[in-house]
């Protein structure tokens, strides 16, 4: 009996090991097969978008994608599955393109090791005098660097210490004789947008030329005092430009001056207006619109300073309006809309950190402490999802916006109707917004109006389509700044003839796209790219980008509603269990 038991234990242990091995083998085999998957999400975010097939069907010749990736053994743990995930995505693209997209995977580290081995061998032979010095040739790293494929550092753990590994993970797209396009860093966190990243590049590769976008303003000029320290003044829109360049646009920055004019071959002009423009600059913009160059315009009427109140209770903060005095409205009125000049406020507001200073006595010394306090004021407008028109591709999947110190837009229906222009509101304020007059340098009254005086949903972003009337039609062009006032008699083309149908996207806030806000809010990046994509390339790419997982927001809920929800979710099911237990126990006892 004892022997039988021993035999059983031995057989059981061996059998268990075998079965575990078989189970792991099955898991491993299936893990390397792309057998199939079912996407349950409402908008099929994990499946290829239908737009992809349409874009790929336009390929005149096969497009080859090379994935340069270090082998998974060399990858940090978080990156181990990246190669497999990227290959899955490339395989899906290959199937969707019916073979017009082909891909290959290349591990440069393996090639580097081979090169190092060959070098060692050659050196040994050379030392022995068996062979002559081999002809120098470029190393793989140099050849790849020329393409734009360079290894980058990622954090990993080595024996309980953090270390940095240099790895390759780049995609190179080759199509006909066009310049190769490179996605320099394919990271696990960008996997959700990889489909867009690849397809947008394919889209731009198959276009006859790379889309060109103008961007105003240009980088600020470096004053002499900066030059001395080899510094450059801050560029408020550097990140916006970088974002567009990374998206494959050829971005040309311009200050719209005589020596820095708008390039003639741009498809879209992005205008970030936060200071007054000269008459000639307005003329140049009007000319662009007349000839059909699409326009993305964001204008900033006010900036505000928020500071601890000098009078009144401690902890209070005052708001002071600083008008930018922009004059773009003189042009925009002709197009059927303008940026409102009154201070605009909304009950739906975000927070900003405001520095406060406090003097403390430490013995005979006094020290001044600085700290930051969160402040919410109605000029720090937050646009919630329910006020964003998700039916329009430009605003699609934008979940919230921080309309920092922005103004509402006024739409002139009589002009829109007269010129047969179509205006689509992209997003609005909440149902509790209001305007107030600027009071010079005195603090702005930020108190809410009476409940009946609230303005209902005011337009904050619009898309206007149609044939726009030029303000400077058949007028001689004004002189450039610095040439005195009057008329430019040089051979500048006049705005004449019928206008080309066009599209303008306008926002009453350019702060949204400034570096500090853009860096912090992903929705703003998407809004800028959506706007430029929609005007330059059409809606197809936006539908692909919009597939990123949408953060669906809940409605505004009262304090009572929140308590009720907490009770319903946490305690109600628990109480049901208690009740069930009591009932069953009673029944048992009665039996």
């Amino acid at each position: 009996m004892k022997n039988l038991r021993k035999l059983f234990i031995r057989t059981f242990l061996i059998g268990s090991g075998l079965l575990l091995g078989i189970a792991l083998l099955v898991i491993m085999v299936f893990d390397n097969l792309n057998v199939g998957r079912f996407d349950l999400t409402a908008e099929q975010v994990y499946k290829l978008s239908p737009s992809v097939e349409r874009i790929l069907s336009r390929l005149e010749a096969p497009i080859e994608i090379t994935y340069y990736v270090s082998s998974s053994e060399k990858m940090p743990t978080k990156w181990k599955n990246l190669e497999r995930d990227v290959i899955d995505k490339l395989e899906e693209l290959k199937l969707a393109s019916k073979g017009r997209v082909t891909y290959k995977v290349f591990d440069p580290s393996a090639e580097e090791e081979r090169e190092a081995y060959e070098e060692r061998r050659a050196k040994e032979k050379e030392e022995k005098g068996e062979a002559s010095k081999p002809a120098p040739r470029k190393r793989i790293a140099e050849r790849l660097a020329e393409k734009g494929v360079v290894p980058f550092g990622v954090q990993s753990a080595e024996r309980d210490e953090f270390a940095v590994k240099r790895i390759y993970s780049s995609l190179v797209l080759s199509y006909l004789d066009r310049k190769e396009d490179v996605i320099e860093e394919v990271r696990p966190e960008m996997f959700g947008s990889l489909e867009y990243e690849i397809v947008s590049r394919i889209y731009k590769l198959i276009a006859t030329k790379r889309p060109k976008v103008g961007f105003f303003p240009d980088q600020p000029e470096t004053p002499p005092q900066y030059r001395q320290f080899q510094q450059s003044p801050p560029d408020a829109y550097g990140m916006a430009v970088e974002l567009l360049r990374n998206a494959g646009y050829d971005v040309v920055r311009t200050n719209i001056t005589k020596d820095d004019t708008i390039p003639g071959d741009i498809q879209t002009m992005v205008l970030m207006v936060d200071e007054p423009l000269t008459e000639r600059q307005l003329y140049e913009i009007d000319r662009l619109v007349h000839k059909g160059v699409r326009l993305v315009l964001a204008g900033q009427m006010y900036n505000y300073q928020i500071y601890p109140a000098r009078s009144g209770a401690s902890g209070e903060f005052d708001v002071q309006a600083m008008p930018t005095r922009i004059n773009i409205n003189s042009l925009l009125k002709n197009y059927g809309f303008e940026i409102d000049t009154k201070i605009f406020m909304d009950r739906s507001a975000a927070f900003v950190q405001v520095p406060t200073y406090r003097t403390r006595r430490m013995g005979i010394f006094q020290i001044q402490e600085q700290r930051y306090e969160p402040v919410s004021k109605p000029v720090i407008i937050k646009v919630n999802q329910e006020n964003i028109n998700s039916r329009v591709s430009v605003a699609n999947k934008i979940t919230e916006l921080f309309y920092m110190y922005g103004n509402r837009l006024n739409l002139y229906n009589e002009i829109l109707e007269k010129d047969n222009l179509k205006a689509t509101v992209l997003f609005t304020s909440s149902n509790h917004s209001w305007t107030t007059e600027s009071l010079g340098y005195r603090p702005v009254d930020t108190s809410e109006p009476a409940s009946g005086d609230f303005l209902r949903r005011q337009p904050l972003g619009v898309l206007v389509e149609g044939t726009f009337s030029a303000r400077y039609l058949d007028q001689p062009p004004p002189k450039w700044s610095g040439e005195g006032s009057g008329v430019d008699s040089t051979a500048t083309p006049l705005i004449t003839g019928p206008a080309v149908p066009n599209k303008i996207i306008a926002y009453g806030c350019s702060n949204m796209f400034k570096d500090d806000v853009l860096r912090a809010v992903d929705s703003h990046k998407a809004l800028l790219l959506n706007s430029v994509d929609a005007l330059t390339l059409g809606d197809e790419l936006i539908h692909i980008r919009a597939k990123n997982i949408e953060a669906r927001r809940i409605k505004e809920t009262s304090a009572f509603g929140k308590s009720l929800a907490k009770f319903f979710v946490v305690w109600f099911p628990a109480l049901c269990f208690v009740a069930l237990g009591v009932v069953l126990t009673m029944r048992r006892k009665m039996k």
């Binding site: 009996m1 039988l4 038991r5 059983f8 234990i9 057989t11 059981f12 268990s16 079965l19 575990l20 189970a23 792991l24 099955v26 898991i27 299936f30 893990d31 097969l33 057998v35 199939g36 998957r37 079912f38 996407d39 349950l40 999400t41 409402a42 908008e43 975010v45 994990y46 053994e73 743990t77 181990k80 599955n81 753990a157 080595e158 024996r159 309980d160 997982i549 949408e550 953060a551 669906r552 927001r553 809940i554 409605k555 809920t557 509603g561 929140k562 907490k566 319903f568 979710v569 946490v570 305690w571 109600f572 099911p573 628990a574 269990f577 208690v578 069930l580 237990g581 069953l584 048992r588």
Partner: protein, 242 residues
């Protein structure tokens, strides 16, 4: 089939006669739903990602070990296991009956968390794909942990020992699917952390399903490992006859 049904009924009813099962179910609901609601209004997202992301750990450490601990340990302690195994029933029927009863009780407790999607419908427009996927994943996850739990319960007469060992083993499966743990293992034994993360850890497969993608690879993972532990339990009980 009839034998499975008889065992199932007996075991399922036993859960409802035990106050401990109620206590653990209430803890499971209050803990998971409470953790979810703790930050819910701060972020204001109409989804259940936060709920499902905590589930592999909370299920592994508390709830599943609690409902699986008694399945065999109690029989062993009361001495009824010999009686059960000498009944004219196949060991696989007894095991499956007990396993399905545990699974059914888990589903009842999991149903208690359906208050969350109901609340989301009132407060927003949730995407039901990831929610359905998440619940499907939770069922597979529970089924897998329960298979581990019933297997471990077969070895011990003491329910507490069974609970602790199940917690440790299921916790291992959960933690190895996190990125940090295999990263540290990889730092010491290159390749091992990667292997455990890719093929053994439960979290990666569960997260795939919870985001709304039912991948055949994840189904194979859950079903093969669940089947493995149930088979081992059957084989072990068969062997007790010697």
């Amino acid at each position: 089939m009839k034998d499975i049904w008889i065992i199932f009924k007996r075991e399922f009813a036993a859960y409802f006669y035990s106050p401990i099962a109620y206590v653990f179910s209430i803890i499971f609901i209050v803990l998971n739903c409470g953790l979810y609601m703790f930050h819910f209004f701060f972020f204001g997202n109409a989804d259940m990602r936060a709920f499902f992301s905590a589930l592999p750990v909370t299920l592994a450490l508390i709830f599943i070990p609690a409902i699986s601990m008694r399945l065999w340990s109690e029989e062993k302690k009361l001495g009824t296991i010999e009686l059960l195994l000498t009944l004219p029933m196949k060991a696989e029927h007894v095991v499956l009956g007990k396993y399905l009863a545990g699974l059914a009780f888990y589903l009842v407790a999991l149903a208690g968390t359906l208050a969350i999607p109901i609340m989301l419908v009132f407060l927003g427009k949730p995407d039901f794909g990831p929610i359905i996927g998440g619940y499907f994943g939770a069922v597979l996850l529970g089924a897998f942990y329960l298979a581990v739990g019933i297997f471990i319960s077969g070895f011990f007469a003491d329910q507490i020992v069974s609970l602790i060992i199940t917690s440790l083993v299921c916790g291992f499966f959960a933690l190895i699917g996190w990125q940090y743990v295999p990263m540290v293992i990889d730092g010491w034994f290159p390749g091992l952390g990667d292997f455990l993360y890719s093929y053994v850890g439960v979290t990666r497969h569960f997260n795939d399903i919870a985001r709304g993608v039912i991948d055949v690879r994840s189904l194979v993972y859950f079903l093969s490992l669940s089947a493995l532990f149930i088979t081992l339990n059957i084989k072990y009980l068969d062997g007790r006859k010697y």
